[in-house]
């Protein structure tokens, strides 16, 4: 396939903008969409650095496909920028599970391609996450050890982390990110996702997904190749014991 010099230059220009800012818009978007050759080139460039492009509305985002990509934010940076001091990798993993559950809430347990709700409150998110983690914990430590190996996912650490926390700290008036509680760890996750332009704060403790998040969920989260069955695991179990859990959650909330 031959590309003319002009196209290569244009494609590279778009790529370099994406590399520097991870987002491109207007003119670049137009060229990217209009010219097949340019699009193919930019896609190739981006693929070479383990990234994908996501066109969301009038923006193109460049998103790392794997954590091995040099454009991927490191765990250390996440800890430094978003988490309290002395945070461990398990804090990040907990954040990830919280993220999965949050997105899951919008997609009706990943059954539909389109969001089934417009926003979620922090309280709802908390209660859902409580429920998931409770049900995962039901497996028992021995089984979880096996599951950790199967999914390469630190279930036990995540559960331990979560169990060690209270839902909220009563003596603190504002449940914010700087106290050790479940809710505050959700606020940390929220702030992180906001910074990544995946959710919007609607105010009044309500959050919604951004266009970017919706596209990523649609394109990648539903694919088994990407989610490695982790969604099935989190959600599959839940169906069997839904009623039982609901009662327990009621208790914990009261």
């Amino acid at each position: 396939m031959g590309y003319d010099n002009n196209q290569v230059t244009k494609a590279f220009k778009i790529y370099s903008k994406l590399a520097a800012g991870s987002v491109a818009y207007e003119e670049d978007l137009k060229q990217y969409l209009a010219d097949d050759n340019i699009r193919a080139l930019v896609d190739q460039f981006v693929d070479q650095v383990d990234c994908v492009l996501v066109v969301a509305g009038d923006l193109i985002y460049m998103i790392p496909k794997a954590s091995s990509s040099m454009f991927h934010i490191s765990n250390e940076t996440i800890k430094k920028d978003y988490l309290p001091t002395n945070a461990k990798n398990s804090d990040i993993y907990l954040m990830y599970v919280a993220t999965i559950v949050l997105f899951g809430e919008f997609y009706d347990g990943y059954q539909s391609m389109n969001p089934t709700r417009d926003f979620i409150t922090m309280e709802e998110w908390l209660s859902q996450l409580n429920q998931r983690i409770f049900s995962i914990n039901e497996h028992g430590t021995e089984k979880l050890k096996e599951l950790e190996k199967k999914y390469q996912y630190n279930w036990i650490d995540i559960i331990e982390k979560w169990e060690a926390l209270d839902d909220l700290k009563e003596h603190v008036k504002k449940q914010q990110a700087n106290v050790a509680s479940r809710l505050s760890s959700l606020y940390i996750t929220k702030r992180f996702l906001e910074k990544q332009e995946l959710i919007n704060d609607l105010g009044n403790d309500e959050i919604e997904l951004t266009q970017k998040a919706k596209i990523i969920v649609q394109r990648y989260y539903m694919e088994y190749d990407f989610n490695r069955g982790i969604l099935d695991f989190i959600y599959g179990l839940e169906e069997e014991r839904e009623d039982e859990d609901a009662i327990d959650i009621q208790d914990t909330l009261n």
Binding site: P64, F71, Y96, Y153, N154, A213, I230
Partner: protein, 504 residues
Amino acid sequence: MDLDIKTITENYRERVQRIALFDCLYKLQSKKRKDNSQKEVDFFGLGILTLLFFFENMLIRNNKTGSEELADFLYNVNDGEIDLDKEGFEKIAREIIEIFRPPRGTRNSRSFYNWQDRQQQTVEYSILQAGRSDIKTNKQYYKLDDDGLELIFATKEYFSEFQLSISQLLLRKQLEKGEFVSALRQIDEMRIAVETLEERIVKIKQEVQRNILDEKTYKRYKELVEDINNRLTRESDEFEELRGFVKEARDTLFYGIKNEKDERAYKFMVKIQQQLEQVHSFHTVLLQKSVELKTTTLQSAQESLYYVGVDSFNFKQELVSRMFSSPLPLESSKTLAKPFLYLQHNKTWSPLSVFAPQRITNREQENKTVEFMNMKAEDERQKELKAQQQNLRFIGEIVLKAMDGENEITLAEVVDYMAKNNYENILSQPLFAHFFIMLHQKSPLALDNNSHEKEKMLKEVIALLKTRYQRLSVREIPKKLITVRDRFKMQDMAIRLEERNFGL
């Protein structure tokens, strides 16, 4: 009325630079020294005389001007005004030269706040520069530097930029008036002006190649070079005109030669023309140089702007010294070094990493590694303990044999029994002593399951005894020391075993 501040503060630096030139003279003035008649020495005046001395010597192309010559000159000028001998003047001459040309090698400088750029700046100036030197006689000669000439010119009524033009004008007037001698002198001054200009162009050329680090500096130099270029072009035109004028004047003189005086004047005119031609050609070369400076040098400097980070970045000054002089904390050093690491690329979080395989914190393995080492030691200990337990049991068995059904026995009897029954080797073991010391220590010892678990060392001994006996007690037998072996003695003791009362 509103004042335009920008216009007022324009060229602030250049103005300060000019004013700073006088600093040396004031520095001289502040030197308080008295001559032999207790009169204060006029250092200020001597400073100006020194400048004029060097200037004059440049005019007459005398390069051999050092502190000695200056001292001679000052002495001659003085003519009794200052009560000092020749030696005194030599001292003063050296001091003045030191002021004009600091012996440390650093240039004279003046720090000031630049009201145009709104920052602290420093201007440098150099009044005297080292000229030739005579190593044989160990003499250093000096001549005026750029700024020194500037200072000389500043004491006249015109600025150096127009110096050549004015010289040209003067020359013309002098020729019109027939002042040939002073006209020749004027040409000499012009020549010096041209030479100064050349030095300046060379300097600027080097500076351009060395200093252009950003667009701003580039612009400044560009303006500077353009100014010089314009000036040279203007002067060149004037030279052209002057040349024509001189030629005309010469021709007029040639045709008007009537007597010796006219002839002398004509000869002067020819000389003037020659010298003027020289200066003119020199000037023309300069003009070419400035054009070259304007085009190639500046242009290539601008192009090299892109590579400047690599080429003329003073790594030592900008990074090394900054890092180590304070020294900077690690974090800040990182920031400083960052530009050299990577080009910018923005890092984003991949929402897919929520599914990424995680490194499982393997608790068991971690524990195992810790345990592994402990176990080894523990293992050894257990093994050793077992052996000791067995050894102690063996001694216990001997003691039982020695008791021969009795319930009490003394240590002396045990030793005696052992000596007689081929157990001598055990007697010399430290363990034998330990056995009795332990018994003595633990006494009275209940022989039941409880103590069986508790007494690790005596475990096997207790196991041996507990079926038949329920208690072991040791009683000291005072003042009776028995020699077990040559090496140690023990106090005798009686060991008593209480039988279990199965009846109860």
